[in-house]
């Protein structure tokens, strides 16, 4: 076929002249599969936006983002989302204090220090940690970590931001470690060899050569970890409490955006009421925050891939 075309014209045409409809149908079906994920995104945006707009017709955007009392189910109702943002921020900050340095440390060890065989066993073992359901981590935070703190003399409430944040931080170590390690592995060996040739030791190569070279990937892993922490629901729902308030004291019970959505979404909140719409207004806030961070993270990953791969 190809030979005939090659003889017929200067430009050989490798495809058959006969159009195969079956092939087109298959391509169409596959494209339809791909459209499911597009529909999901559109669905999420529509599902959030419409009731959220309804909500903001009754509650001003200004009240929502500037007042400091969140009590949508009480009389008189009050709709300041800041306490929920405060709670989310507090737990996220605690989680980051843990997962950022230790995730990076684990990544440096795996990428720069561990022998290939050690690495081959350690990496999947670390991934087991990432595979534990969050409801189990929540259980662990509430029934193990908090009692541990109390018996150690730390005066924490039964539900508190500290236990939830710390357990979440450990949960996120594999997230940071695996993405950062990918970025470090992508750094060409020749750069390391150059540094060794100039008399650097392994510590210097790791901290002054590999980490700066992989920085966009490391930052991407940090941003993704923050996004995960902000969106995590079960740990905070179980262990951090249901009390929206403005505080940075980690020993107190708080409420995060996600915990509010889960706690309110369970009950039979009548449709069309302001109470029902709060779920979507808070959900939209959550979605916008995590969306922005995801895009930043994806961009950063692309950057290091473009440089080294």
């Amino acid at each position: 076929m190809a030979a005939r075309d090659a003889i017929a014209g200067a430009q050989p045409k490798l495809r058959s002249d006969r159009r195969r409809w079956g092939e087109d149908v298959i391509k169409g079906v596959l494209a339809l599969c791909a459209l499911v994920s597009v529909a999901t995104t559109i669905g999420i945006v529509v599902a959030l936006l419409e009731p959220a707009l309804e909500f903001f017709r009754e509650v001003s955007v200004r009240e929502f983002f500037t007042t400091t009392r969140w009590a949508p189910l009480f009389e008189p109702a009050s709709f300041g989302v800041l306490p929920l943002l405060n709670g989310t921020f507090l737990v996220t900050a605690i989680a980051c204090v843990l997962c950022m340095p230790f995730g990076l440390g684990a990544a440096i060890y795996l990428s720069e220090y561990a022998r290939p065989r050690v690495r081959k066993t350690l990496k999947p073992a670390l991934e087991v940690l990432a595979g534990i359901p969050t409801v189990v981590f929540g259980f662990f935070a509430l029934t193990f970590v908090t009692p541990l703190f109390r018996s150690a003399g730390l005066d924490v409430e039964i539900f508190n931001a500290l236990s939830a944040g710390l357990v979440m931080g450990v949960m996120l170590i594999p997230t940071v470690a695996s993405l950062s390690e990918d970025a470090m592995t992508a750094v060409p060996q020749s750069i390391r060899d150059g540094a060794y040739a100039l008399g650097s030791n392994r510590l210097q190569v790791s901290t002054r050569i590999v980490v700066p070279a992989a920085i966009s990937g490391i930052v991407a892993s940090y941003v993704l970890a923050i996004s995960r922490a902000v969106g995590e629901t079960m740990i905070v729902l179980i262990a951090a409490g249901q009390l929206p308030r403005m505080t940075f004291d980690p020993t107190l019970a708080i409420q995060t955006m996600t915990a509010f959505i889960a706690a309110t979404g369970t009950g039979d909140v009548p449709r069309g009421t302001v109470d029902y719409h709060t779920i979507f207004a808070v959900g939209l806030t959550l979605f916008v925050i995590t969306f922005a961070m995801n895009i930043v993270s994806i961009r950063l990953v692309r950057r290091y891939r473009e440089v080294y791969e």
Partner: protein, 291 residues
């Protein structure tokens, strides 16, 4: 002789001490994860083992701790696994084939599709719950049924299946495709008879891991109404609860004994997940080819 043993330009004792201290710090970073994992497993087993019995597996939930089990939840989780297999696999693998084999990556819409999937993989699971509440439960009028829960989990893990399937398909070398074309095969014949069979181990591994992720998911199911008292066996279009949800319910009860039952149910859940994970790793090691 390795670079280390040469110790070129070594700065004597101080540099060495710092090097050792740094390495210890790195090991501690890894250790924190493993110590926590160990503490978690020991804690769950110590609390849960006494309650891990036939009552837990075969009884419905109950107000009395002696009789409380998790049968409807375990069954619903198994049903959902079955539904997920037939929904997420074809859609996920289909999307992966489209993106890897057909899509022209210079087109803006194909790049947007790629970005969209990467973003979806990081959308908080509770947001999927809101989607389910708005469209499946209320919009389509399915109600708070098992099918709605399974469908929302499908959308949740779809990006994971797509990403891992794409990697498996991409790993099949182009020479295999070229060989197929040279023998006169059409594009689909090449994909179906050459590329897919070679990619199946990778696809299967990724899909099992995605399924395991779905089975452990709690938050989105809460919003589609799985947090109810279900004492009978689940049906496709009936009210349901799932194993992680049942665990959450038992944790939330005030009596301390129920927390121990929750621990026992956690052992069951972890056993299911670890079996799936082990199977996935075995598959990968046994069948994955390096080209």
């Amino acid at each position: 002789m390795s670079v280390d043993s040469l110790r070129l330009g070594g700065r004597g004792g101080r540099g060495r001490v710092r090097g050792v201290a740094f390495q210890a710090l790195l090991l501690a970073s890894l250790g924190i994860g493993f110590v926590t994992l160990g503490a978690l497993l020991v804690d769950v087993f110590v609390k849960g083992i006494p309650y891990l019995d036939a009552t837990l597996l075969f009884n419905p939930p109950s107000a009395s701790p002696q009789e409380a089990g998790a049968r409807p939840a375990i069954l619903a989780t198994i049903y959902m696994m079955g539904i997920l297999l037939v929904t997420v696999l074809p859609i996920g693998v289909g999307t992966a084939i489209y993106l890897e084999e057909y899509a022209d990556k210079s087109r803006w819409y194909n790049r947007l599709l790629d970005l969209n999937i990467q973003n979806l993989a990081a959308v908080p699971s509770i947001v999927y719950g809101i989607l389910g509440l708005a469209f499946l439960v209320r919009g389509l009028g399915l109600g708070r049924v098992l099918l709605a829960g399974a469908l929302i989990l499908t959308l949740l893990v779809l990006p994971i299946v797509i990403v891992s399937s794409r990697e498996a398909i991409r790993a099949v070398p182009d020479s295999i495709r070229q060989g197929g074309y040279a023998l006169g095969a059409t594009q689909w014949q090449v994909i179906w008879r050459q590329v897919l069979p070679a990619a199946i181990p990778g696809i299967a591994t990724g899909s099992i891991l995605a399924l395991a992720r779905a089975i452990g998911e709690t938050a989105p199911l809460i919003l589609v109404g799985a947090l109810t008292y279900v004492a009978f066996n689940p049906t496709l279009m009936g009210p349901f609860t799932a194993l992680p949800i049942q665990i959450f319910q038992y944790i939330s009860r005030p009596q301390a004994e129920f927390k121990l039952i929750a621990a026992a149910a956690i052992i069951v859940l972890l056993a299911i997940l670890l079996t799936m994970n082990a199977f996935a790793i075995w598959l990968r090691n046994r069948y994955q080819r390096r080209w």
